[in-house]
């Protein structure tokens, strides 16, 4: 496997964060909260583990990635730009008329997007099918999928987990972005989550909870998951909705924002400061 690894994964995460924010600020609105909480996970996947590059993106032997919580599309687009799948100018077209970067990822529009998502629950099912197909074709590549904690409300997610576990899809790795919030509020107020790790274990998976704010912790969890045999792996990530951007983290509901002028300025200030810190040229 030939991924050109990123040296500093936490720096890579900050770069993704920076370009994610840039897209939102350009468009004026979007799913800020849930895009920011997957940044570290995308950094570790695309910076180290996921064998998918602009060169091999149609090679069936590559690794596959499904963003089941499709509304985090902009974070994926920032990652795809930084990994050379799409041109920088594309980022300015997020959600514009005729764009190739819609709110929710579309495999027919954006190079590097393996599956079209946006209706919660469906991406993880597709991921089980990709993992099954790869095994049927005697390939030993990996399928990675990110679901939201709210998305776990959907029965379809649990159908997918049952299917994966029954069929011993041990090259499927599921990430739960457990930012404890869904659209209408805290997940625990809407549908009591109980203990996700226990639930996944009882469904026949390997599962553990790690700090989803730490690229190191995520990296270690993936290394662990890759050694697991005979069952799928589910990594539950402790994250914060709006992760890494103070003004947004502090909001009581940051699921979808259309910030006013003043808030936009604050977001831009934080974004520019971040850009300076990590040395990106604007």
């Amino acid at each position: 496997m030939a991924v050109h690894q990123v040296k500093d994964l936490s720096l890579f995460a900050q770069e993704i964060r920076y370009y994610t924010l840039k897209q939102f600020v350009t468009m004026g609105f979007g799913h800020y909260g849930g895009s920011l909480s997957v940044v570290e996970t995308l950094a570790v996947l695309y910076g180290k583990h996921l064998n998918s590059t602009p060169e091999n993106k149609t090679d069936p032997e590559r690794d596959y990635f499904v963003l089941s919580k499709g509304h985090a599309g902009p974070a994926l687009y920032a990652t795809l730009f930084l990994r050379g799948f799409i041109a920088k100018e594309w980022l300015q077209t997020l959600n514009q008329n005729n764009t190739r970067l819609p709110s929710h990822p579309d495999r027919n529009l954006t190079p590097g997007v393996d599956m079209t998502t946006g209706s919660l629950g469906q991406g993880i099912s597709a991921a089980t099918g990709i993992a099954l197909g790869n095994r049927l074709a005697r390939r030993d590549n990996w399928t990675y999928v990110i679901v939201g904690d709210g998305e776990l409300n959907e029965g379809q997610v649990w159908e997918a987990v049952q299917m994966a576990s029954h069929n011993k899809l041990d090259h499927l790795m599921v990430f739960v972005d457990d930012n404890k919030m869904q659209l209408d509020g805290p997940t625990k107020d809407i549908s009591e989550p109980h203990d996700y790790v226990e639930k996944f274990k009882s469904f026949g998976c390997y599962s553990k909870r790690v700090d989803g704010k730490s690229t190191e912790a995520i990296d270690q969890a993936i290394e662990w998951g890759k050694k697991n045999k005979g069952k799928p792996t589910v990594i539950v990530l402790d994250t914060i909705k709006g992760q890494g951007v103070h003004v947004i983290e502090a909001m009581s509901n940051n699921h979808h924002l259309r910030p006013d002028e003043e808030t936009t300025k604050k977001i831009m200030r934080e974004c520019e400061a971040l850009g300076e810190r990590i040395g990106v040229s604007t």
């Binding site: 514009q96 008329n97 819609p102 946006g118 209706s119 709210g150 409300n153 029965g155 209408d184 549908s191």
Partner: protein, 314 residues
Amino acid sequence: MKRYNEKDTVEMRQVYADTLLELATLDPKVVVLEADLSSAITTTKIKNQLKDRYVNVGIMEAEMIGAAAGLAVAGFKPFIHTFANFATRRVYDQVFLSLAYAKLDAVILGSDAGVTAEHNGGTHMPFEDLSLMRIIPEVTVYEASDATMLAALLKQGYKQPGLTYIRTIRKQAITLYDTSELFETGSKTLRKGTDAAILASGIMVAEALAAAEELAAQDIDVSVVDMYQIKPIDEDAVMEAAETGAIVTAENHNVIGGLGSAVAEVLAEKKPTKMYRIGIREKFGQVGTADWLKQDYGLTKIDIVKAVKHLCSE
């Protein structure tokens, strides 16, 4: 001629929340169900008043429909909301069997009709909800075109037995009706003309009225009818429109299965008439502003004007 160029002072979602509060206050059997899109439709505002008769099940559309059916069995009257794409295509078998086939009373509101799903894009843009609902036996299907109408249709849905599906936009509509208006026949004639008739629903009614003005300036005199009841379709209104000899239907929806189809079915069997259906043709949804999407899919007054002129010149 009455001008239709002002927007409603209230958003459609506010009408939904207000009307449900009114009905729930009068009737303890009314239960409001949401699937994590409650803030989007503003029923979060009424949840404290409704207490345990407001249930946000979470992102579980299938469960929401199934539970609504159970509530109806237990004697309650569920009002169910989610985006129209999820309310129909995501949970079609649950709607079909547990509600319609089981002959239970419920009202489903499908929001963000057609192009008004805007930047949520293709996954969230319903161009087929009316078709899906229309082919289910005994379901009443509406598309609301302004705030006054939506309140009336919700009350109608509350009163009538069986399953009612109401399609709506979420934000402000163009005002079409006085608050005293009654909606009894299934259609509203907003303009009478002799050269052609435009039969429209939802946001396309205002577009049709604008087209009619433009046509009038060119000495083409058309009727405009708001066909808010997609099923059962108002056959008398269709037959009357057919007297003009040319019919254009206009919907923010696929031309297959919705208003255009419903009108064509009446005409084909009872009075074959020249017609053209304005609507989505073999396209999926996509992201964009509603205005741009209307242009891209050919849903503007200009498209209607062209269609009418083409039919009239044949």
